[in-house]
Symmetry: C2
Subunit: 455 residues, 2 copies
């Protein structure tokens, strides 16, 4: 009998791994369960549909049911799994159906974090966790006069311009003292804040929401003693690993809240690795490259990459998954915001005292139309590069990728500064600002080392 593989979750890790598997093997019986009615869509594209840059949510759907059929994939949408019977190797659906597996992959993704304040279930309080959320938001979009976004992370900020462009007043509330605290240092976050303020958003940092108010429909939000009008609230206060099912099944979770997996994405029960149960994507913790410690890296590109390793394991081609750097890029109303490796907050948490350098440059020759400024902050541990943040009007992702390669291969700032770069006036200044930043950080590192030897 052909092996029966079950995936729980139809997102970036689960469905992608199922696709890989179906393409590379023809003797497997592959079933994917998803709670959502639609799978195989681009989650990251939703803010741009809301902002009418992309003409409709249907455009985000990458594969429909025909594609699954063609691949021999059994994709069961709107079907939640209630229980995993690990000893007898079966899953049980919410309606009581019991399906046996030879191999199981848990890819239950993230759950939006709902802040513990009154009013989160009022009408008009939304999240952007799936396509249905997006469609609901979209329907309300034109009627919104006062939008309050709770959470200053990337999803909320990418969505803010949609409200602004629809003519709404927008307030963004972030509990921590700066926007995008997971990705950026305070000085770099200020650039994002200024950009959104210039577009008309009101930004409140360092104060948490106290209550969301209204009878059945949201009417206002109270924060730091101030009550502001709201006819729509977007909860985007981050995500948590969605591990309820795994926990109920006795699978070990780590201190981060994510499912513990080994380098082949095998889960553990009571500390014992299970060969036939894997987990991947936003619900697991994996090792960070710089810290060597477990972390949650809930971005699509990381999940997508993990899917390849999961598929290879199931195909009997074991490849150990390397530690993660997690380069990211977000486009916030035309401002490109990138980060990779550790920021200063993450350094503090890891007990690393970073040496940093900030550089400002341009994205094209100074006489070339369309050029924008770009600000780069590089971090080293005094020797090697360990992180970087880049904010600018274009071509930020490319610098993030260069940095990811440099950091991933253990390079020093001097290594990066020595690397040759190409030049043409329409696309870059003669000296790439990243080269300049690396050169200056190398000098700073050298100066500090010299000073150390002096003691």
């Amino acid at each position: 009998m052909s092996p029966r593989i079950i995936f729980i979750g139809g997102g970036g890790a689960g469905l992608t791994a199922a696709f890989h598997l179906a393409r590379k093997s023809h003797d497997m019986q592959i079933t994917v369960f998803s709670r959502d009615p639609v799978v195989a869509y681009s989650h990251c594209g939703m803010p741009f549909v809301l902002d009418k840059i992309i003409p409709g949510f249907d455009r985000l759907v990458i594969y429909g049911p025909e594609a699954f059929k063609d691949l021999g994939l059994d994709v069961r949408t709107s079907t939640a799994i209630k229980e995993i019977d690990i000893d007898d190797k079966a899953v049980i659906t919410e309606t009581g159906e019991r399906i046996e597996y030879d191999r199981l992959v848990i890819a239950t993704g993230p759950s939006p974090f709902i802040p513990p304040v009154p009013g989160t279930s009022l009408d008009g309080v939304c999240t952007l966790a799936n396509l249905e959320d997006g469609k609901k938001l979209s329907e309300r979009m034109n009627a919104v006069k006062y939008a309050v976004i709770i959470g200053g992370g990337p999803i909320g900020l990418e969505t803010a311009p949609a409200f602004l462009d629809a003519g709404a007043k927008v307030a963004i509330i972030e509990r921590l003292p700066q926007l995008m605290p997971s990705a950026l240092d305070p000085d770099m976050a200020t650039l994002v804040q200024t950009h959104l303020e210039k577009r008309g958003a009101k930004i409140i940092t360092g104060r948490g929401v106290e209550s969301i108010n209204g009878k059945t429909q949201v009417e206002s939000v109270t924060c730091g003693g101030e009550t502001m009008p709201a006819d729509l609230v977007l909860l985007s206060a981050g995500v948590r690993p969605n591990t309820a099912l795994a926990r109920r099944s006795g699978i070990d979770l780590g201190a981060t809240g994510g499912i513990i997996v080994d380098e082949y994405f095998r889960v553990q029960r009571n500390g014992k690795v299970l060969d036939d149960v894997l987990a991947a994507g936003d619900c697991v913790e994996v090792t960070g490259l710089i810290t060597g410690k477990p972390g949650i890296f809930a971005v699509g590109s990381v999940a997508n990459r993990q899917a390849g390793y999961v598929a290879d394991y199931l195909l009997g081609r074991k490849r150990p998954y390397p530690p993660v750097l997690c380069p990211t890029i977000n486009v916030i109303g035309g401002l490109h915001v990138g980060s990779v490796g550790l920021n200063t907050h993450a350094c503090e948490a890891a007990g690393i005292k970073p040496v940093t350098f900030n550089a400002r440059g341009a994205t094209r020759a100074r006489y070339y139309p369309g050029r924008t400024s770009v600000e780069i902050k590089l971090l080293s541990d005094g020797d090697r590069l360990i992180g970087g943040q880049i904010v600018g009007g274009e071509n930020v992702h490319s610098k993030v990728n260069v940095l990811a390669l440099a950091i991933g291969k253990g390079m020093t700032p001097a290594d990066l500064a020595e690397a040759e770069t190409c030049y043409a006036p329409p696309v870059t200044p003669m000296i790439d600002p990243l080269t300049y930043a690396a050169e200056m950080l190398a000098l700073k590192n050298a100066r500090l080392k010299k000073a150390d030897y002096g003691h």
Copy 2:
């Protein structure tokens, strides 16, 4: 007395080094001689002024005489050097003035290659070697009905759209069987050719020009037996190291035609290194990274980088100049054309049999407006990456820079494929096409190695 430093040449190597020197040291007497009336302008920007993307040639001038004065630089424009008296350490101008130096830097740049055919001195036959050339071309631009570009290299191709946009008929003649033979393989060059043909240019490859015809003003060009009308001819058949002065002074030239320099850019006379005479930029030959052999790398970014090493040598901070990879990017009527390392032609010349992989991808998520296709060709020596060519509508330079870093650090395709990349729909698809190309080339290398072991 403060040391007297003389630079011959006010281009990307000479003037840039003089600027570095003036900024970092205040006890030097620095004189720069240039034949040209204007220095410190962006040569690479000229095609885009001709195409009216940049509103005038004055925009290309980066520093004027005031900047030189502020820095204490004595810049003598329109002043040619006739002779170098190496034994007595002096230069002699064309008007007979003799100026002594303590240290000399020869940065005489390139000379346009003038094909040995009749008619190259007719009125209407132009080159694009300096700002004056550009201004002259610009004045004629609107009156041109038939433009013939001789040479299918980057400068000619970048300028072709200016003629097309001005309403001229354009023919491009390349003696070799493909466009951009120094940068591209034939398959990649076809993409450039198709792009220009779609815009209306006529491309003739594999046939040299026989004659440029006319009485005083150019009237036609004969090529492959065919005579085509021409009221303007742009000679852009490449450049050669401008070494006449160095040769006359007894300085050693290499087999490439460039001035021989050591890793500190010191020249030689009769095989003996001269400590006080340096040469840099388009007039010298330097070591190629992959081949380990001398080559001419006549692009602005290479000259600019060399300037830093020259300045450091003159400041007493000797840094050996590393072998060169020479990543390049050209923007040809909106098409971005990049290359780095060796192409197949260069591999053949170096006796390397490359393993190649071509991949096609997109520059943004497939539903995101403005996305363009991008074609990537990667070359390995069966093990390490040794070259790459990228042609697409945007974001090509960034991939060139990633590749330059990977090749420069001796990485294999697998190393590059393993590197994490960031993702956001407006700027990149989920899987970067460069990652995919590297992954496929890694597999191909592995397959070929296995097949080898099988024998």
